[in-house]
């Protein structure tokens, strides 16, 4: 009898106790807020005012809200440009550094370095480089006879700079994932290909690319999710400007909520973003299924 109670203790109660702190935090700080976010989106209210239930009116208004669509399209444009660029750049870096040449780990480390910096610091660093008058980039343009550019205060160049800096700061992270994928390709496939007289291009197109397809898909989805969440870098680089040329969804939600004090309406916008990211994450899980399952 006593043996039985002991075994049931360490098969149910003990693991539950081990899990409690995490479960508590997840429940209080993610699951409950997510549910209350859904509920808030059905109300019209401000932080001190009263709360009025208005059903789906907020969502109806979102569809007629020019600001929302502007930031939505900005975000979409950013995602559609930055994701392929990040994927291509990180794959390129991985191809360059996946073989064991002398000193390769130092270069790998160097390309990875920007991902270690906070996006605030990345933003500050590039603000210093892209400065209108004292920035070194304009200085180089100036002394080489070119025209200086107001990088961050012209809509087109601000957007382009943001794209470049995003790729710069993130591609090292995905490079590591690609290196993992490339190094998992069995060596004898390459020897077989070289016996058959395949050239580099053929090896890349017909062996490497198809075999790292799972990694490529995960990178694409992860990069998409992270681009939809983009906020910090923009916040330090341009504050969404000039005008609203680089204003994205997260910043819009933040401003409507905390600067305009329209918490219900901002929650409805957040719900739209939550659905988008939720769907993308589900796709990521499906792609990662093997890794998350129990083997």
């Amino acid at each position: 009898m006593s043996k039985k109670t002991k075994s049931s203790f360490h098969q149910t109660l003990a693991p539950m106790l081990f899990l409690t702190p995490n479960m508590l935090i997840f429940a209080v700080f993610i699951i409950i807020p997510a549910i209350s976010g859904l509920r808030l989106s059905l109300y019209d209210w401000s932080i001190l005012g009263e709360k009025n239930f208005i059903g789906f009116e907020n969502f109806g208004n979102i569809f007629r809200d020019g600001d929302f669509w502007k930031t939505f399209l900005n975000t979409l444009k950013y995602v559609l440009i930055v994701v392929p660029l990040i994927t291509a750049a990180s794959l390129g870096l991985a191809l360059l550094t996946c073989d064991n040449r002398p000193g390769v780990s130092i270069f790998r480390g160097t390309f990875y370095l920007p991902t270690m910096l906070s996006l605030i610091i990345v933003g500050i660093t590039w603000r210093w480089i892209l400065g209108d008058e004292l920035g070194i980039l304009n200085y180089i343009l100036d002394i080489s006879g070119g025209e200086t550019v107001k990088w961050l205060s012209t809509p087109r160049t601000a957007f382009a700079s943001l794209i470049f800096i995003s790729v710069w700061s993130l591609c090292g992270f995905y490079m590591v994932m690609f290196i993992g994928g490339l190094q998992a390709i069995p060596e004898d496939l390459f020897s077989a290909a070289s016996i058959d007289g395949a050239n580099r291009r053929q090896v890349f197109l017909h062996i490497k690319l198809p075999l790292i397809r799972p990694t490529t898909l995960v990178v694409l989805v992860l990069a998409t999710i992270n681009s939809f969440k983009a906020f910090e870098l923009i916040f330090t680089l341009t504050k969404g400007g000039p005008g609203s040329a680089t204003k994205f969804l997260v910043q819009n939600i933040y401003q409507v909520a905390f600067e305009e004090d329209r918490l219900g309406y901002a929650s409805a916008m957040a719900v739209m973003l939550m659905i988008t990211i939720g769907i993308l994450t589900m796709i990521q899980f499906r792609l990662n299924r093997k890794e998350y399952s129990n083997e």
């Binding site: 081990f18 995490n22 780990s105 899980f285």
Partner: protein, 273 residues
């Protein structure tokens, strides 16, 4: 192209890329060592004519900067300790016990990745307000301490620890906590190192949690203070550059010391957050 020519062109590519990835950071460092007047005169100099630490002294003189640094350090160390503790506990429960609902719990924990902070900013703000956590460091320590990534890494690693070790300890009459503390944790050192480093990086670099929870200047973290500083109309670059270098320094040290754990963690998990 022959083999030698290929190798040469690869190293040329390495060099060019190194400049692109390293120069921006190096430029901030070099600039921070210049005197105020050199910083703002044309033509620009690449290397400081008279390298000086004046900007650093100036940054620390105000005292507030030291406080931000301290706040960040406090948050990072405590949160990392909590993360390592509770994530390894959860990883152990999910890998070495068989109980009803285990897989469902694991799935739900991983699925919380679907709900990033960006989409629950508003309810989080209200919740922290109701719990009295606004403008407290605990308000940015506790909520992100439970990380799906950490749990995932811990679980995957602990599955490789043989069950027989645990069984025989139980036969010897050891309690469950004792087994975890004295047998599992020492064996899990590599994964603890990985989680520690990741948590250190996430917390030190974290911006969004402090941005939502902290509005009192006294409680600013370094990242929040820096973003505030660069957001001003008239940026005091000489001070800001030295502060930026100081904020980067801990990351560089951690990175250089533990590079192999980074790579390992990344290839194993492939997840961020």
């Amino acid at each position: 192209m022959n083999k030698k020519g290929r190798t040469v062109s690869i190293y040329i590519a390495y060099t060019l890329l190194t400049i692109i990835f390293l120069f921006p950071v190096l430029w901030v460092l070099l600039s921070s060592l210049k005197t105020q007047s050199e910083l703002f005169t044309y033509p620009l100099t690449i290397f400081p004519a008279n390298p000086t630490l004046d900007n650093y002294r100036e940054a620390f003189r105000s005292g507030t900067f030291l406080r931000y640094f301290g706040n960040s350090g406090y948050v990072t160390v405590i949160a990392t300790f909590i993360t390592v503790m509770i994530n390894t506990m959860a990883g152990y429960a999910l890998s070495k016990y068989i109980f009803k609902g285990r897989d469902l719990i694991f799935f739900i924990m991983i699925a919380t990745l679907m709900i990033p902070l960006q989409v629950i900013m508003i309810p989080i703000f209200l919740l922290e307000k109701n719990l009295g956590l606004l403008n407290t460091l605990w308000g940015i320590i506790i909520p992100p301490a439970a990380t799906p990534t950490g749990i995932f890494l811990a679980r995957q690693y602990m599955m490789t620890i043989p069950n027989s070790l645990i069984e025989s300890a139980r036969i010897d009459g050891s309690g469950e906590w004792f087994i975890f503390r004295k047998i599992i944790l020492p064996l899990a050192k590599p994964i603890i190192a990985t989680i520690t480093i990741f948590s250190f990086m996430w917390r030190w670099n974290d911006f969004l949690w402090p941005f939502i929870v902290i509005s009192k200047q006294k409680k600013y973290t370094l990242q929040l203070a820096l973003s505030n500083f660069v957001g001003q109309y008239d940026v005091d670059w000489s001070k800001l550059l030295s502060m930026t270098v100081i904020a980067i320094l801990p990351m560089i040290i951690v990175f250089l010391a533990f590079q192999k754990y980074f790579i390992k963690g990344l290839t194993a998990g492939g997840v961020k957050g």
